[in-house]
């Protein structure tokens, strides 16, 4: 425990944000070229830094230079980022002639007739740190170093930091913002780039003498790429005619595990350590293999340059290469993978274990279900892997044997891999509580599977947000509730090795999934991680090459798989093309996808996406069938009708392929190639993530098809010429997907994703220019008129009598009313109804985002509440002397809108003195409410006001509106030309009250 650090004692819930308030911000400037390759680190050399290039920036900026390491430290991340961009740095190129790129592991093809096999397997030096940016903070002071940030390899990180600072590891404290599974992280799959960020932060903190925060985001992916492979294992085998492996050759390039952090290499600290601490060649241990071959050669080269060892990781790497290779040999020579292994196994216990596991897992039963029970977007596969590790004294008999069988489901569209079943048999000596072992293994296995089977929470994730809150909010700016975990200072490599459960039994974990993936997809992944992105890319590549499944027996659904992959590839090409020029070819019609094509989960996600996008609000006519379209929109350019988005093949989108659907959503081009008008907010929908769009397509296609009558738009020339939209799009449409803002919290980015994209708030709430394009900048969310209603400003121009707060916005969006503002009515009522389908977290996120646009506080202050009470009280006392209006008000409104002192069930709960509409510069919403009433149909108990269109003349409505303005918004100027406005707005209204019994 360190007490010397000024940042200590941060277990308080304030968490990272408290740290940040004391920290300065660092951004590194990496050389144009740096690379770890073949056990060597090479980079461009620093010639000089011109600090005068920062003269134009205000505020204290420190430039940190150590060896080839360059960093900039400033008082804000924005300033540091600017400075890093602006800093003139001169590098001397020492680029190697042949820039080998060993990280690329191509999907190789087999070459029958089959006699020999040769494959190489890699292990990356760095895992990516998810898609989630987070802070890494280091504080170096008084011979103490404290580091806050995510790390999967605390031991290795401490060693790096110790080398960097020459401090003893006992003087270094690591605090993790991720508070769970610290032990599993410790036995993880290797380092991720959070360690590089931590070393950068520590280096800069030592140089400037204050805590330094580094933003760990996509920029560090460059380090992942540069560090390449930590491990490369090449395997060769020659087969005899009966399929037995006659000759087996195993070559491991690097026996000891992990590559030091980039900052360590650049600053030169790593090189010094290498010379002094690590005499080479001492720890050459031949790798162990449980199998016996007639002719075998096993070799592992020891690399002194890799500074830390991690036997757990080494075991996993070796088992991954060996077990993947045997699986490949078996598949390519058309043998059963388990049978092949048994042929080369002499260890009786191991044979027994494998046979019992195979039996328990029903290995022989085909993993393919009949085609009708498996949704067509899914591919299933089953894999096997085995390992046996000797114990610490290299006694093979006493070692641990472990046999695994895993089933996976791969979604061919998204690349998601689900580990659906796992059977693990473990032989761990005589004194093991098998139940507990089973339990531990399950937890470890599944826990272990998560990081590389890639389900990282992200801005387009649907759910209750609880995970994002517990796991990631703590690492962003917002306050956290979880106290950081402190890695025990006594933890060491040896201690990890002591645990019999940690070493051997995890080794087959990666291989078994790689093998199952191959069984499912026909693609061999020879380097982890197997994230959804990588799997999807590999699937798309193999589809483009037209060489889908080389050695996989043909399955029933093969042809459909092909078609799907082809469609996915086409989408990408179409997307690129449409961005580059006004591309408007038709996309060939397809027959409607089968109802069982998509999983229930995908369709459910799509339902939420549809609710967030509120498709039905526009695509349903008054009293019509949901999503059949036909709703008329009055625009300055003429009347537009919404279209049928049910999967009807003639009048709806039944013949739309996903490619066509995505093009419409992102680029506003219909399947037939004609342009859509931006009344359809594709300008916002373009920001939607791929996964959400796919789910939305799945959902819409799963709905019952309904035929609709075609409505003809009535647009004036030249707006009736759809092709002109091509030019409009180049001017006003940006089809780039949503990019989260690293300076903002998880909650904000989620809210921004929903509000700017699916929620398309700005489609109504931003004014449009003369060409019908949304204005941006200061006019973003500045309020506009839609369909006869005013969509009030959602930025600082808000006219609400009591200022909005984030809490009020949340109430309004979730419950349909805010006690300090009023109810959601008009076109906003169905929006609130749609939001009712969403998880609470999402609505909170939208409220958070909108509050940020309004610069609104989190909650309303006591002064706000007192002000509201004051308004209500004064409106009750001072009635203006407008006789006609007052009579109408007393007769028609007062029964519900004036408090009689006795509570009633049907009265308006929110006083008109707080109503935003009465305080607006425009009377439109008040007139609409009087004429049509307030019907929050979908939100029970909110706003049930009859319309008075049939009871009041225009003059009466005008009298009433004028009276309401004078009484409830006395500080505002009276509205002008109210009666004319009423005449304009009255047209669409019929009797909205219900008929007599």
């Amino acid at each position: 425990m360190s007490d010397g650090s000024m940042l200590n004692g941060q277990q308080a819930p304030a968490g990272t944000s408290a740290l940040l308030s004391k920290a300065r911000y660092g951004v590194v400037v990496r050389p144009p070229f740096y690379r770890w390759s073949d056990g060597r680190f090479a980079s461009d050399r620093l010639v000089g830094v011109d600090k005068n290039s920062l003269a134009s920036l205000s505020g204290p900026i420190d430039v940190v230079v150590e060896g080839d390491f360059v960093g900039v430290v400033a008082d804000s991340l924005a300033l540091a980022t600017d400075a890093a961009k602006q800093l003139k740095v001169e590098w001397r190129t020492v680029r190697q002639a042949a820039d080998k790129s060993p990280a690329k592991m191509p999907v190789e093809e087999s070459h029958p007739p089959y006699a020999s096999a040769s494959h190489a397997y890699g292990w990356p030096s760095r895992m990516r740190w998810g898609n989630h940016p987070s802070w890494v903070i280091a504080d170096y002071s008084d011979q103490q170093l404290s580091v806050w940030g995510p790390t999967a390899t605390p031991v290795a990180l401490k060693q790096d930091l110790s080398r960097l600072t020459a401090l003893d590891v006992s003087q270094i404290e690591l605090y993790s913002a991720v508070n769970n599974h610290s032990t599993q992280q410790a036995s993880g799959l290797g380092r991720h780039c959070g360690d590089d960020a931590a070393v950068d932060a520590a280096l800069m903190s030592r140089a400037v003498g204050s805590p330094v925060a580094v933003w760990l985001d996509a920029r560090y992916a460059k380090d992942v790429e540069a560090l390449g492979q930590a491990q490369r294992i090449t395997l060769n085998a020659d087969l005899s005619s009966d399929g037995e492996i006659a000759r087996y050759r195993y070559q491991q390039a690097n026996l000891t595990g992990e590559v030091a952090a980039v900052g360590l290499w650049l600053s030169g600290a790593a090189a010094i350590a290498e010379l002094t601490e690590f005499p080479s060649g001492d720890n050459d241990t031949p790798p162990f293999s449980p199998y016996v071959f007639r002719d075998q050669y096993l070799a592992a080269r020891s690399q002194p340059a890799s500074l830390t060892t991690n036997p757990t990781l080494t075991g996993i790497q070796q088992a991954f290469a060996r077990e993947s290779f045997l699986d490949e040999v078996a598949r390519e020579s058309e043998q059963d993978p388990i049978a092949l292994r048994l042929r080369h196994l002499e260890d009786a216990r191991g044979i027994e274990l494998i046979e019992s596991v195979a039996k328990r897992a029903e290995w022989q039963r085909p993993s393919d279900q009949p085609a009708d029970s498996l949704p067509r977007q899914l591919m299933r596969g089953r894999g096997f892997a085995y390992s046996q590790l000797p114990d610490r004294d290299q006694r093979v008999e006493a070692g641990v044997r472990s046999a695994w069988i895993a089933d996976v489901e791969v979604n061919r569209i998204t690349g998601d891999v689900q580990l659906t079943r796992l059977v693990v048999g473990q032989d761990a000596g005589p004194d093991i509580d098998t139940a507990r072992l089973q339990q531990t293994l399950q937890a470890r296995v599944l826990g272990e599977a998560r990081p590389f089977l890639g389900h990282e929470p992200r801005f387009d994730e649907w759910g209750d947000g609880s995970r994002a809150l517990t796991k990631h909010e703590s690492s962003a700016l917002a306050p956290t509730t979880s106290s950081p975990t402190i890695y025990s200072p006594s933890a060491s490599v040896a201690a990890v090795g002591e645990d019999v459960l940690t070493g051997a039994e995890l080794s087959p974990g990666v291989a078994v999934i790689a093998n199952a993936l191959f069984d499912a997809t026909g693609l061999r992944f020879r380097q982890p991680p197997f994230t959804a992105n990588r799997v999807r890319q590999a699937l798309e590549e193999s589809a483009i090459e037209g060489s889908g499944r080389p050695s996989k027996p043909v399955k029933q659904s093969r042809s459909t798989k092909r078609r799907w992959l082809a469609a996915a590839a086409f989408t990408t090409i179409a997307g690129t093309a449409a961005m580059a020029w006004p591309w408007k070819g038709a996309i060939a019609p397809v027959s409607r996808p089968a109802a069982n094509l998509y999983s229930a989960e995908t369709i459910e996600r799509g339902r939420l996406v549809a609710a967030a996008g509120d498709c039905a609000a526009c695509h349903t006519s008054e009293g019509g069938v949901t999503n059949v379209g036909g709703r008329a929109f009055e625009t300055p350019f003429g009347t537009l009708f919404s279209t049928n988005i049910t999967p009807d093949e003639v009048t709806g989108i039944g013949q739309w392929s996903y490619a066509a659907f995505e093009r419409a959503m992102r680029h506003g081009i219909s399947r037939d190639g004609s342009h859509l008008y931006p009344a359809f907010p594709y300008t916002a929908f373009a920001k939607t993530s791929d996964a959400d769009l796919q789910a939305l397509y799945a959902y819409l296609m799963a709905q019952p098809p309904v035929a609709a009558e075609k409505n003809t738009n009535e647009l004036s020339f030249p707006f009736s010429v759809r092709a002109l939209m091509a030019g409009w799009n180049t001017l006003y449409h940006n089809p780039a997907p949503f990019q989260p803002d690293p300076m903002q919290s998880e909650l904000y980015n989620r809210g921004a994703y929903l509000a700017e994209g699916l929620g398309h708030c700005s489609a109504c709430h931003s004014p449009r220019n003369a060409m019908g394009a949304e204005k941006s900048g200061g006019a973003y969310l500045a309020g506009a008129f839609v369909d006869g209603w005013e969509a009030p400003p959602l930025n600082t121009l808000s006219r609400a009598p009591v200022p909005w707060s984030e809490a009020s916005l949340y109430d309004y969006l979730r419950q349909g009313e805010s006690a300090l503002h009023g109810v959601a009515s008009g076109p906003m009522a169905p929006v609130v109804a749609g939001l009712g389908e969403l998880p609470e977290y999402d609505v909170r996120a939208i409220a958070h985002y909108v509050a940020a646009q309004m610069q609104a506080p989190t909650g309303n202050s006591d002064a706000d509440v007192a002000g509201a009470e004051q308004r209500v009280a004064s409106a009750a006392l001072s009635a203006p002397e407008l006789e006609a209006g007052e009579r109408l008000f007393e007769g028609s409104c007062a029964a519900c809108h004036v408090a009689s002192g006795v509570p009633t069930f049907s009265s308006a709960r929110i006083n008109l003195a707080l109503n935003t509409n009465l305080h607006s510069d425009h009377p439109d919403n008040v007139i609409q409410s009087i004429l049509g009433g307030v019907h929050a149909e979908h939100v029970p108990g909110v706003g049930n006001m009859p319309g008075f269109a049939d009871s009041f003349s225009n003059t009466q409505v005008a009298d009433l509106a004028t009276y309401l303005r004078a009484r409830f918004a006395p500080e505002k100027a009276p509205w002008q030309q109210v009666e004319q406005r009423i005449a304009d707005l009255r047209q669409p209204h019929h009797n909205n009250t219900h008929s007599t019994p």
Binding site: F905, P940, N944, P997
Partner: protein, 162 residues
């Protein structure tokens, strides 16, 4: 889609569009004709019913709004064959001409007494301000309301924890 309502102490399950005014459901589907259709705009009070003991204008209230609440109509006011004190007071005071508004008057006074068992004459007038009577029996109605306060107090004393 069916809605579950509790009306006059009975659970009712109804297949009606959720936006139907509660009044229509009470009168047409359940034959509870105590509440009357007057203006249809929530102005006159003839349609009043009690929801959770509070007066509500059932002509402007969608039936879905009553789900999960206790609805009491004039028809369900009497308990065990015993008229509600407010009903008894209106009979005693003969406070009716055509009687069309009386449902609203009785329900509103009942709602008032539920909230305040000892209202002043001023408070009674305020509570009844937005219940319209076209026959001009306001004086009798106010007398009836005042009498209801007394009878109600006696009834409460007899069975205070009913």
């Amino acid at each position: 889609m069916t809605l579950k309502l509790t009306i006059n102490g009975q659970e009712r399950e109804l297949a009606v569009p959720p936006q139907t005014p509660l009044l229509n459901v009470l009168r047409n589907d359940l034959s509870l004709n105590g509440p009357k259709y007057g203006c249809g705009l929530g102005e006159c009070g003839a349609c009043s019913v009690l929801i959770d003991g509070m007066a509500a204008r059932s002509c402007v209230l969608p039936v879905s709004a009553a789900v999960g609440h206790n609805v009491t109509t004039l028809d369900g006011l009497a308990q065990n064959g015993q008229l509600d004190p407010v009903q008894q007071a209106f009979i005693d005071a003969q406070a009716a001409q055509c009687g069309y508004c009386l449902n609203g008057m009785i329900i509103t006074v009942r709602g008032l007494l539920n909230h305040n068992a000892q209202p002043t004459a001023e408070q009674i007038r305020a509570a009844l301000e937005h219940n319209l009577c076209r026959c001009g029996t306001h004086v009798e109605i106010l007398q009836a309301a005042e009498r209801a306060v007394v009878i109600n107090a006696v009834a409460l004393e007899e069975a205070p924890y009913e």
